[in-house]
Subunit: 862 residues, 2 copies
């Protein structure tokens, strides 16, 4: 069933809610007294109906409430729907809801069923759902808090809710019998909370406030008014925005540290001995050719620029940064487990978590409606109950398709590699010198763009495939459906986004072979090598192109551009039937206008986008310290973009209760865990950090880095080239080359076992592996320590809870005591019957409640 | 304050509770009607009092309740105490409790204050503590369950509680107003639960049942009656026994697998090629001497027995076993997070967890009493509030002392090593051939015993030191005190128990040097080597001696022997004053007898013992597959031993609510995490598993293990011995030795860099490190997968919860509905006033409750 969306706030700009009588009319029943709390729409099938409503629903009906007769049933299906709808409506009435029908609206083919929930029904449900209610206000004004508030004042949205932030409420499970506890705040509670319980009440004001103070790029630097968002959209969507805001704020320190690390690299690049050695032209190192035949020997000093650029991403600060980011990732995840508050500090997080969970609850009718529709559901479910055997084919299809899709990703990545290798070879062959000089750049750029396009296309394909596969599985509940879909989509999109990157980080340049015995793909293409200085720079380029490309194209083009184009088309069309349309707009009820907005399709795409981004930020952050900064910039736009979408372009979603961000938390935890080990491997295997360390502390003569470049290059005797593989232009450098050098740890040609892997290789490998172990365990230990040092519940909050508890106890006791004393005079005679000899007058039995019977009398047998 | 302990059940053996009038008398107030629910004792100071009560309390007083006059105050302090006690008692009275004083008992110097909690006070507190009450019985009889029950019948204790296991209760937060929901089960609820709420009520029966069906070695094979234990001792102690039982049952599969692994080793020892090669006398390998001068060359074949024995603990099954145990450890820990039920299966665990948390709650007066004494506490706290600066010296002392203690442990371990080295050297020098032949055995045995004795002594010392250090810190709350104490004790005892073992596992035999350049301690003692076949066997011996010794001596000697001796002494003494004592015993009230039992000192020692055992079972399990079996045997005794102690020898502890096992869970998690990495290191570094693998897949000619022994031994030219270090008897083997062999990967004397670490060493090291990474991550992944596959809440239970929820909803709705209909006729006129046009008759407002005022009316402004 679809629900009416937000006010079209553009309409309301000129009208205050009181003046806007049309709005008032649309928001109330015919009597002008009872508010519309919820609207159900259904398809009215009439011969000659001009157009059909987009929304389909299981609860369609065309039977007016006043009686069964009057509308003929068109066919069997229609009849069944009518019967169901009827029963559903009866259930609603049984629960005490009040209904009003509107089938004669300006929108042909669509019937509206307006629902009003009376006060006592709300009370009953609030009690039943064990909603927590603020019972008594306790002012906690601390000096530091108020100081912080003052400093942060300009960052706050101009929304009222924050004014009362420092006033804490004692919360107590709502109970009709206990309402008397809410002594003074009684009526204000009624107004502040219970008004908000009504889904549509106050919609105009809240929607307008959100539109101004939230869904606008001009307030990007402010906190989000999460409380209002929660009130307006429900806890689930509120939680998404709270999480997004929190994650974005967590990105700020990460960006700052990342930029510092990058700047450190820039500042110290001139002091870096290995790149100095490479750039120093006197060091006359002749390198082996980079491709067969077409390429010739080259001077290492020509790789100077690459070596210097590599240093920017491969310096000692990188190691520190990846440890920092591993810890950051863990804490970002653990804070998102309790995410709700746009402050980044756990204290405030926790305050809000409690606020979200306890105070001012949002009332949603979902429980009630699901209860009302339960008979059908049960009926429906028993009809299609599936055994394990029935499910087996679907599961097998799932497994096979998932593997196939992952295989497709691998194949495409391999294809791009082949493209790169073959294009490079072809371009090297080219006789045009300009083409040849731009080989690297051309190949890299085109390949990266190819990769990006493939990722973007496959992303869409995989989304559809995952949905199809999940439908095949026929999960039992909506929740299970959502979880399975998310899980599948996550795996496919993650594999899609990260396979090329993982290839570059861990495989490229490793499966090359050695001069004289290179590895060939399809027997003719040599595998790729990385530029001198490690693959870290290539990884960085690939990472930044994928990340920025995805963000720019997917978010900005798809999310901003496409709706803009749609609007433009709509505008052009509307010009034709301008008058007609305008006339209709005016006469339409609020819910009729909203009915034609895009329906809300779930938060999955939003979360998925963010978790992939989280992957980019954490997984390979060792190679790209600026990733958090780009993510931060993207997210600042993303928040307002999503806000605009939710406020203005989608139907207002049904509010749903949510404790936490659910399966996304598990996925985030998984990504953060994988990030630790991947960063460990990136540092130890992709960067030259470990070889440099090993050289410095074991092979270097004076403990300095001088000689490292020479040490890391092996010797090759050019007479050992395979036939037909030697360079066509051996005198390219102007002299005959006998020995060329290549980057590897192998025995020299003059040793007893020429070109075999040398002892240094194994020593460096052992050091790399040892580093991985140390890194992983240190980070794990540190994140445990951080978890332990920062308690889940901050001290002042736990004090606050304790204080609240004591106050609650006192309030309770005082109330009980007072009651006892009041009752004491009337009931003392009866109580005196119990034999009590030398002790104090027995406390009289609580007898004051006539209904329900008080069973608190002392049983006879005691 | 001290609390009266359990019934001395020996006394009750001949008396049923009804007949036992004395017991009855002791359990009731003077009027014989009101039960004694709690007893406070205090010190009565009178001139000429014969003896002082052992128990001291902050609530001491000698002021009778009847009036302030009559007893003179002896001094200022006494006066202050009296005033406090007075106020405390007034608080108790204010809460509705009834008091009775007994100062003229047979126990001079001790006053007793008996407390009775009337029914309505209990009701109020139950509501306030949000106790969950069973409201309606729903029978869930499943076939499989009943079958399982039948099979397991003989394992169940003959206690009634299990008969009703299949009857589930709907639980609802207790509320006096909602008591009518508990329709039929109303009175039975009153009897079953509320009777048990009274702390002492039913003590005789429960205590006796526990004594027979729990605290007895003859029922060791049965489940524990955890429900009864919980009822009798409170949740905290119940949880300990539930956890202990669960852990013991988790040990069963571990023991079985361990025994299988051990038997596999025994069965395949003859097929093991390396030990065959060693034992085959034709392989004429001459080994380098094991000590300087005194020792001579030796034949490798003499190490045959050791090599075969080593294989028992170092075979491929060991690797499987350590992965199994790592997963086992994680699941044992995660199941102890929800531990409560002696069944080992999560399903039942969960059932019980809910049972413990919701049904039949235990009522403890602790909240009330702490509330009553709050004024003093607050007063007391403000007086001694400490700033950070005040605390600094204590924290520094803590840090220094902890480091010092750990240093002491290291020093002692080093001392034992020195003892071993020097004794071995001395004994080798001995001219007595018998002494020399038993060198290894003598040294090992004495060193292990020395180690054990040191561990046992230090354990006691460290316990005292930790307590002293924690007192120094002046923690704010009792809970914080307990946690800090536990943490410190844990660290010290863990370091104490595991330092020698870690030394053997990771350092012994690694810091030896090589022939011709051995490492020396104090320039004269060569560092220890392990026997041929790796240090795994030595580790196993050390582990088993420490573990068994600790268990036998600490548990059996200290826990059984010492109390027995104490009893004997008491018996001998009592013979002297036999008549006198007997006479007194007879005339004493129950609480007077119990007053002289040992007070309950907390569960810390019990948990600590178990966590150290858990460490032994998981940390080095790769080297000792029988550890779980020994732990299992120990624990079967331990459960009943502790049970006996709690039932018969300690004062009955104050019942305390507990959700989980608290800090112990964190410590267990920590141990389980550390276990993964330690086992990875044990397998890859202590055992020969990786070198064997590397040999088999890279160096072996035909892929078999033949030649491994030869490959793992390096060559040494005896002419390179340092002067004065060569053996005194070079012709011991009957021929002149030129080249001897030693276990290491080093270059041979004839290479270009003799005795340098060889390429094989680095390759093997890399393989070892790679194995650690793979092992750790695979285990972590698998334990995540296991966690994910086994949901926290099993399916049938979550179904059950769902069903309960629906039933609850229906019950609630039906009740609401009925009420509305009943009220409808009377209140309909009033409700009709609200304008309701075309919708259904509005549901009348719930108006039935006169007190408290029903605020559920619709406010005017809506």
């Amino acid at each position: 069933m679809s629900v009416v969306g937000p006010c079209l706030c553009q309409l309301l700009k000129t009208l205050t809610p009181e003046e806007n009588t049309q709005c008032h009319y649309g928001l109330y029943f015919q009597d002008g007294q009872r508010r519309v709390d919820y609207v159900l729409t259904y398809h009215v099938k009439r011969p000659g109906a001009a157009r059909h409503a987009r929304t389909t629903s299981r609860l369609l009906t065309d039977n007016p409430l006043k009686g069964l007769a009057g509308t003929p049933s068109w066919d069997e299906q229609e009849d069944d729907k009518r019967r169901r709808r009827e029963e559903f409506e009866k259930n609603l009435l049984d629960m005490g809801l009040e209904l009003e029908r509107d089938e004669d609206g300006k929108t042909p083919g669509v019937g509206f069923l307006k629902i009003h929930a009376p006060w006592n029904v709300l009370c009953r449900e609030a009690e039943f759902m064990k909603l927590k209610m603020p019972t008594k206000k306790v002012s906690v004004v601390e000096k530091i808090n108020s100081l912080i508030s003052k400093v942060l004042e300009p960052l706050r949205p101009s929304v009222e809710e924050h004014k009362t932030k420092n006033i804490k409420h004692l919360s107590y499970t709502f109970s009709r019998e206990k309402q008397h506890l809410c002594t003074k705040a009684k009526y204000s509670m009624g107004q502040s909370s219970f008004n908000l319980l009504h889904v549509l009440r106050g919609v105009c004001e809240t929607g307008w406030l959100l539109y101004e103070e939230w869904a606008s790029y001009s307030v990007f630097y402010k906190y989000q008014p999460i409380g209002l968002v929660r009130k307006y959209f429900g806890e689930k969507i509120g939680l998404y925005f709270a999480w997004l805001g929190l994650y974005t704020q967590m990105l700020i320190p990460a960006s700052v540290v990342g930029v510092i690390v990058f700047l450190y690299g820039c500042a110290t690049v001139d002091d870096n001995i290995p790149s100095m050695e490479i750039c120093y032209p006197k060091e006359n190192i002749t390198m082996c050719p980079l491709c067969d035949k077409a390429c010739s020997y080259w001077k290492l000093s020509t790789a100077c620029a690459t070596a210097r650029a590599s240093y920017l991403f491969d310096n000692p600060a990188t190691v520190f940064f990846s440890i920092f980011m591993a810890l950051w990732g863990e804490s970002a995840v653990s804070s998102s487990s309790s995410s709700s508050w746009p402050f980044g500090v756990r204290t405030l997080l926790f305050i809000c978590l409690r606020k979200c969970a306890q105070d001012e609850p949002r009332f949603s009718f979902s429980l009630k409606i699901s209860l009302a529709s339960r008979p059908f559901e049960t009926h429906f479910k028993t009809q299609i109950k599936l055994t394990c055997r029935d499910r087996l084919p679907a599961y097998m299809t799932n497994l096979v398709m998932m593997l196939l899709m992952i295989g497709v990703t691998f194949a495409i990545v391999f294809g791009v590699i082949l493209y790169r290798i073959s294009t490079k070879a072809a371009l090297h062959m080219s006789s045009n010198p300009i083409t040849r000089s731009h080989v690297r750049l051309t190949v890299k750029t085109t390949a990266a763009i190819l990769n990006l396009v493939v990722i973007l296309i496959l992303d869409e394909v995989y989304g559809a495939v995952a949905r199809w596969l999940t439908v095949l599985e026929v999960p039992k509940t909506d929740k299970s459906f959502e979880q399975r879909l998310i899980f599948k989509t996550f795996i496919l999109k993650f594999v899609n986004a990260f396979t090329p990157i993982i290839y570059i980080a861990f495989f490229r340049g490793r499966l090359v072979g050695r001069p004289g015995s290179y590895l060939y793909v399809f027997e003719s293409y040599r595998m790729e090598e990385c530029a001198h200085g490690g693959c870290l720079m290539e990884l960085c380029i690939q990472l930044s192109i994928t990340m920025l490309g995805k963000q720019l194209i997917q978010n900005n083009l798809f999310e901003i551009g496409v709706p803009k184009i749609k609007k433009l088309i709509r505008y052009i069309r509307s010009k034709r039937q301008a008058f007609q349309e305008e006339e209709r707009q005016k006469r339409l009820q609020r819910y009729e206008i909203d009915h034609f907005l895009e329906p809300f399709a779930g938060l999955t795409p939003e979360y998925m986008e963010m978790i992939i981004q989280f992957g980019f930020v954490t997984l390979f952050v060792a190679s790209f310290p600026l990733a958090p900064l780009f993510a931060l910039l993207n997210n600042i736009i993303e928040i307002r973009l999503d806000a605009k979408k939710f406020v203005g372009e989608l139907q207002r979603p049904v509010a749903a209760r949510a404790k936490d961000i659910g399966i996304w938390y598990n996925l985030l935890t998984g990504v953060a865990k994988v990030a630790v080990i991947i960063n460990a491997f990136v540092i130890s295997f992709t960067s030259d950090f470990i070889p440099r360390l090993v050289y410095q502390y074991t092979y270097s003569n004076n403990g300095s880095m001088f000689g490292f470049v020479n040490h890391s290059l092996s010797y090759f005797n050019v007479s050992h080239f395979q036939d037909g593989k030697e360079p066509m232009d051996p005198l390219h450098l102007g002299y005959a080359v006998e020995i060329c050098r290549y980057k590897d740890y192998r025995e020299p040609p003059w040793s007893t076992s020429p070109y075999e892997i040398s002892k240094e290789f194994w020593a460096v490998l052992a050091a790399r592996l040892a580093f991985v172990i140390v890194f992983q365990n240190v980070v794990m230990l540190m994140s445990d320590v951080v978890d332990w040092l920062i308690p889940d519940i901050p001290k002042d909050i736990s004090m606050q809870i304790h204080k609240e508890k004591i106050l609650m106890v006192e309030l309770f006791m005082r109330e009980e005591h007072g009651k006892m004393q009041r009752m004491g005079s009337t009931a003392s005679t009866g109580a005196k019957q119990k034999g009590s000899s030398n002790s104090y007058p027995p406390v009289p039995v609580a007898r004051q409640r006539s209904m329900p019977p008080a069973h608190c009398y002392k049983p006879n047998n005691v």
